[in-house]
């Protein structure tokens, strides 16, 4: 039961309230005010300057009824989200491997090794990958290691399966990806652009995730493992029955964070493809769409409305996610 503090008692803790005040003021000004302002302006035709007219729900009607581009961008982000969730697996594996390192000293240095790259700004990482794709480093690497031939062979194989067995779902798509003698234009053609945004970030070890999982794993006592070994449990069963149930809660949290960041992510997509959403607009995502409405069309009100719709959708996804992954009661 919560305690209620009589107003007259507040003066005795005034100094404490004074300490809190700057933080409240700053959070209010820089976190809450923009959100409330955004919500308000989503009902306006607003150019961010001298034009500000109330247009009611027109912005929302426009988004829902007349904006296939927005929904297309939403479909894109869901597919990207799916791949980003798959990309969480290496982090889990890494955390488990680290946890099972027997030497404590070695484990410490491994941990340090994972923390250090965290200081690199994520934008820098995206820029590096962009360079990797565009200035020929990846292509040179593939050519010199023979990887390119492998890719071409794979592509040909897919094309063969598609043409002879008539399985079109994936094979037709992959069949024309790599052609002999032609350097892949990773970010410049539609299919390869998709492939690029899926593969970038290899080996997908999210340091933050690793540390979170590791923190939980370290709460498992040695006796549990010893008992398991006495019972003859193999390495995978240890993971399946001891480690995974423990970290599942965190996996759920990380999944939500990954989805959230995928939907909110405008930065990396804009670095890769600019405001146009890649070749033929195939990689348009909602956040970039919002930026475009705001800065290209000068429709700040519409951009605010898109922001609000995104918030609602994220909220819904959170609810579904929470329910689907919660442990059985």
């Amino acid at each position: 039961m919560s305690r209620r503090v009589a107003f007259k008692n507040i003066r005795h803790h005034l100094s404490l309230y004074w300490f809190v005040l700057p933080a409240v003021a700053f959070i209010g000004t820089f976190n809450y005010f923009p959100v409330i302002n955004g919500l308000l302006h989503s009902f306006y035709t607003w150019n961010g300057g001298d034009v500000e007219r109330v247009t009611g729900t027109q912005n929302f009607v426009d988004i829902f009824a007349y904006n296939p581009q927005f929904w297309k961008s939403f479909a894109n982000v869901l597919v990207l989200g799916f791949f980003n969730i798959l990309k969480m697996i290496p982090s889990i594996i890494t955390a488990v491997c680290l946890h099972r390192v027997l030497s404590e000293r070695l484990q410490f240095w491994y941990r340090v090794g994972f923390v250090v790259p965290m200081v690199v700004n994520s934008i820098v990482v995206v820029l590096l990958w962009r360079m990797f794709f565009t200035n020929g480093i990846l292509n040179s690497l593939l050519t010199s290691t023979g990887g390119m031939n492998l890719l071409v062979w794979f592509s040909n194989a897919c094309a063969w399966i598609s043409s002879t067995l008539h399985i079109n779902i994936f094979f037709a798509w992959a069949g024309e990806l790599f052609k002999p003698g032609i350097s892949p234009n990773w970010l410049g053609t539609g299919k390869l652009a998709w492939l690029s945004v899926v593969i970038w970030g290899f080996p997908y070890v999210n340091q933050f995730g690793v540390l979170v999982y590791l923190a939980v794993l370290q709460s498992i006592g040695k006796d549990v493992y010893e008992a398991a070994e006495v019972d003859g449990v193999n390495w995978f069963s240890k993971f399946r029955y001891i480690e995974l149930p423990l970290i599942l809660d965190k996996v759920r949290l990380m999944m939500f964070l990954v989805l959230l960041s995928t939907i909110n992510d405008a930065g990396s997509m804009m670095i890769f493809f600019g405001l146009d959403g890649g070749p033929d607009g195939v990689l348009q995502v909602p956040a970039v769409f919002m930026f475009r409405e705001a800065y290209l069309s000068q429709k700040m009100g519409m951009a605010c409305a898109i922001g609000i719709v995104l918030v609602v959708i994220i909220f819904l996804m959170n609810k579904i996610n929470a329910w689907l992954i919660q442990p059985a009661e």
């Binding site: 005795h12 803790h13 001298d50 794709f133 410049g188 053609t189 070749p279």
Partner: protein, 588 residues
């Protein structure tokens, strides 16, 4: 409900175990001390100054810009020195010249705080601020020079510009000033243009090889000016390989760099379609005219002439390195500097850097500059499109505005006139290595190749109406450039025409509606401009000034009246054109 005991907080023990040391205390308070010191120093300074009037007669002229190149700062200092000589000779007091080079990243912010705080220098280089902000700042903090701009520049005495109004001594006549404010504010000092840079030694070496192989008649020390020959040379060069066995990539491209080729080689080829598009006979094909020409079926994207232009676009983009459409401009430079490419487009502003990079490369080489190739009228297939080289709008850049904070506006104005006099503008640009902006001012030998072509052709249509058409074009054009769409299917000229014919109009409708809305919003702003001029007339008692203002007011009276007629006319046109299109079955 329970309440907290009144003396609860007093009962807390006061812990002093981790009291800060004196050194820590000093460290923690350093910022506050610094602030207090600054504050009191400023306070003292202002109080003292308010008491004592400035007795120092020296006129201080300050100027802010973001050009950190040593050449520019040197150029300004040198010109200030020469200006002082002129003043001395005239018997005027000398000026003390101060310039503030501010880094680009902080420039917009710096200018904003200086203008708002009323501490801005006399002259400010215009830029790094959004257009809307610039507009407000101009109205608020800058002094218009409209009256002065229509009088001759006294420093042009003895030249052919002697009697010309100052405005007309600039290569672009300073345009219309700032139309939204009905005033002229900024005066430019330089202009810029773009050319093709090439690696002469490599070109000679490779063409020599081609001659030996019998693929070329003679060795070349400059690329051919004829586009068809140029493209054929590119193909032959691509067949040659460098020391590591990689084929040469004749043209180093990136979307930016290709933009230059597109502007200077390809876009003028659409000039012949102007006749169908230019409805109001003003010689320009603007976006609204393009929209209506297409809606009224007077012009189509599969016009045979436009198809040829697109075929040329494809022919050029095919010769750029693979993946060029997703690399940055610097990555393209890398190819050129590493001598994997022979040609690259660059501007007069970054030309010097490129030359320096080439000279400092592991295998240094000299860079030459030439015009972008053009389609010759004698060309059997494309010749009908060639009306000439493109018109290179001589936009005045490196523009400065005079702030209202200036204590000696007459001296600042005089200094601007001095800098933009024919002779002095030439001297100044010679020092800084840029192109003079005043007519008749000669440019340095290196820059001769950059001389803008003021006798040329403009594009004959303009398919970007607003954000939607812009995005649509930005998404569609790359398909043509790389020859395939997002599904990996071949995408050629015909596919481009089909996509444009099918979908462009849909995007254009949205842009048109949004623009109509924006026009209607702007009606009120147009009225405000008129009202402020009207007030000046009503409040002015000087008959001459009143007459001048009245004349300008009448000049400004047309746009608001025209705006309403234009809104009505375009609406009506839209309605009629739709009906017509429906009747013809072009719209469903």
């Amino acid at each position: 409900m329970s309440s907290v005991p009144e003396n609860a907080s007093r009962a807390l023990p006061r812990v002093r175990s981790d009291a800060p040391s004196r050194w820590q205390w000093i460290k923690n308070s350093a910022a506050t001390f610094l602030l207090a010191t600054t504050f009191f120093a400023c306070l003292a300074r202002v109080l003292l100054r308010e008491k004592a009037k400035l007795t120092n007669d020296k006129i201080v002229l300050s100027l802010a810009h973001w050009q950190l190149e040593p050449g520019v700062t040197k150029g300004f200092d040198e010109m200030a020195k020469r200006y002082n000589e002129v003043r001395r000779a005239r018997g005027d007091a000398e000026i003390e010249f101060r310039q503030m080079p501010i880094p680009e990243g902080a420039y917009g912010q710096w200018v904003t705080t200086q203008l708002m705080g009323g501490t801005a220098p006399d002259l400010i280089e215009i830029g790094f601020l959004p257009y809307d902000t610039l507009l407000r700042f101009h109205a608020r903090y800058f002094t218009p020079v409209t009256r002065e701009i229509f009088k001759p520049n006294p420093y042009n005495k003895g030249t052919d510009l002697e009697d010309r109004p100052w405005k007309e001594t600039f290569v672009d006549g300073l345009g219309e000033g700032i139309p939204a404010l009905q005033e002229y504010y900024d005066v430019g000092l330089s202009t810029f243009s773009c050319r093709m840079f090439y690696n002469r030694e490599l070109l000679k070496t490779l063409t020599r090889k081609l001659v030996a192989q019998g693929k070329l008649d003679k060795e070349l020390d400059a690329p051919p000016d004829n586009l068809r020959e140029f493209l054929s040379l590119c193909d032959k060069l691509h067949e040659l390989t460098d020391e590591s066995g990689r084929p040469y990539l004749p043209i180093a491209g990136s979307p930016d760099r290709f933009g230059l080729i597109n502007w200077l080689t390809i876009s003028p080829l659409s000039a012949p379609v102007l006749t169908e598009v230019d409805d109001n006979c003003d010689g320009f094909a603007n976006d609204t005219e393009t929209f209506f020409a297409i809606l009224r079926n007077r012009f189509r994207f599969d016009d045979p002439r436009l198809k040829k232009v697109m075929a040329i676009t494809r022919a050029v983009t095919m010769r750029l390195q693979p993946g060029w459409n997703s690399v940055t401009r610097d990555e393209a430079v890398m190819l050129f500097v590493q001598q994997r490419s022979l040609f690259i487009g660059a501007g007069s502003w970054d030309g010097m850097t490129l030359i320096k990079q080439a000279a400092e490369a592991p295998k240094p080489f000299a860079v030459d500059i030439t015009q972008f190739p053009m389609v010759y009228p004698s060309d059997p297939e494309w010749g009908e499109l060639s009306w000439g080289r493109p018109y290179e709008k001589p936009a005045t850049g490196f523009s400065f505005g005079m702030t209202k904070m200036s204590k000696h506006p007459e001296v600042v104005l005089d200094f601007m006139r001095f800098l933009t006099a024919q002779k002095h503008n030439q001297e100044f640009n010679e020092i800084i290595g840029w192109i003079p902006v005043v007519r008749g001012a000669e440019m340095s030998k290196f820059l001769q190749a950059f001389k803008p072509n003021l006798h040329g052709v403009l594009s004959g249509y303009s398919p970007v109406l607003g954000a939607h058409t812009e995005t649509f074009m930005n998404q569609t054009n790359p398909n043509l450039w790389i020859g395939e769409d997002s599904n990996g299917k071949a995408f050629g000229v015909q596919e481009w025409c089909d996509r444009m014919n099918n979908r462009w109009l849909g995007e254009a409708f949205i842009d048109f509606e949004q623009r109509d809305e924006a026009y209607r919003d702007q009606l009120a702003s147009k009225e405000t401009v008129l009202a402020t001029t009207r007030a000046k007339i009503l409040l002015n008692s000087d008959p001459q000034m009143k007459k001048y203002l009245q004349q300008r007011y009448n000049g400004a009276f047309d746009p608001p009246v025209d705006a309403i007629r234009d809104i009505a006319r375009s609406r009506q046109l839209l309605q009629d054109a739709r009906a017509e299109a429906r009747k013809q079955g072009r719209l469903k």
